[in-house]
């Protein structure tokens, strides 16, 4: 892969890493699974880089790969296989810092729990919405029409708000 693509990849990664991680969390069972899943996502994005057309939004393109990989890899089957994406022999590390805002953390955990209860399709749509993607882009990533996206989001949001009601 040429240097330009590598730079595009690394810059996009820097910009979107948290978003990709957040999407992975709802498809993963626990923190270790999230790490495995994210690694698999990054490997697939890296492998697909030569096919990336510069005219498309790289963020949307990355979300598309992320959702497809999350769908393909059932978390329980990733297991605890050790996978390493090496960056000059340095592994990717996902580490936790001290949770300073416990209340917010609790809400976040509850929100993730609620999202995990949704079906795979709804998970895909709502995670993109929560990443503040416009309906047009959600439609481009998922392949469903903008109207259907809007209807789905309204329905899922109600479900989530009901699920979170005791906390917010």
């Amino acid at each position: 892969m040429n240097k330009d693509l590598e730079n595009i990849f690394l810059n996009a990664l820097e910009e979107h890493q948290y978003k990709l991680l957040r999407i992975c969390t709802v498809y993963a069972k626990d923190d270790d699974d999230t790490k495995d899943l994210l690694q698999e996502v990054l490997v697939n994005i890296w492998k697909a880089m030569p096919s990336f057309k510069g005219d498309a939004n790289i963020g949307t393109w990355m979300y598309r790969i992320t959702l497809n990989v999350c769908l393909r890899l059932k978390t329980k089957e990733i297991g605890r296989q050790k996978k390493t994406l090496r960056l000059d022999s340095r592994a990717i590390n996902i580490y936790k810092t001290d949770a300073s805002e416990n209340g917010q953390q609790e809400q976040l955990m509850q929100l993730r729990k609620c999202i995990k209860q949704l079906n795979e399709a709804d998970k895909a749509v709502i995670t993109l919405y929560l990443e503040e993607l416009p309906y047009k882009e959600i439609s481009a990533v998922t392949g469903i029409t903008e109207n259907t996206v809007a209807v789905k989001i309204k329905r899922i949001k109600n479900k989530l708000l009901n699920c979170l009601k005791p906390m917010i």
Partner: protein, 196 residues
């Protein structure tokens, strides 16, 4: 209230951080397939090897085996094995490799692939019964009628063929069920939910 959801969702980076070391990438990782895809992959490889052995063995048999009926049988078995091998090669082409499709397209491609696999298994099941098994009977008949085996051995070979066929049929049925249960059903459900 609705913005609250986005706010909660995006609060996660404060608690979790990813550290990436920026440097030249060396990618040495092979993406592992899940158990189901491994099962399919090994089955295809196993059958391809079996086909190649059958083709080589029975082409040799056409020249080597003296009875004419057995030669004809060898020819049919070779034809069947070539046909099946081509089906297996075709299934590889159908496998969705691109993860850059949109979600719905990706699901549909996976559905097409699993449907093709299922149809290939069913076709192989029937082709075995229609072509390979009669060819096998023709082969042992040639051997028997040429006086190369006695009636007891001939009958044993007939039963062996029938039992192997029943075994292969049951195994294929189990595989079809597995494709249905583990793959097609779930994908169909997802597509249905997506299009709701």
């Amino acid at each position: 209230m609705e913005d609250e959801l986005i706010k909660i969702w995006q609060s996660s980076p404060k608690a979790e951080q990813i550290k990436f070391e920026k440097s030249r990438l060396i990618l040495d990782m092979q993406s592992s397939l899940d158990r189901f895809h491994r099962f399919i992959k090994y089955r295809i490889i196993h059958d391809q090897i079996a086909c190649i052995i059958v083709i080589a063995g029975f082409i040799y048999g056409i020249y080597l085996v003296p009875p004419i009926l057995s030669k004809i049988a060898c020819f049919f078995i070779v034809l069947w094995a070539i046909w099946y091998l081509l089906q297996l090669v075709g299934s590889k082409k159908m496998k969705p490799t691109s993860v850059t499709l949109n979600y719905l397209e990706y699901l549909e491609k996976n559905r097409d692939y699993l449907t093709y696999l299922k149809e290939t298994i069913i076709r192989s099941m029937y082709s075995y019964a229609i072509l390979a098994l009669p060819a096998y009977f023709l082969f042992i008949s040639g051997v028997y009628f040429d006086g190369l085996s006695d009636i007891t051995f001939f009958i044993k070979l007939i039963f062996l063929g029938i039992f192997v066929h029943i075994g292969a049929y049951a195994y294929s049925k189990w595989e079809v069920k597995k494709v249905d249960t583990y793959g097609l059903k779930k994908i169909d459900e997802l597509i249905e939910v997506m299009e709701e």
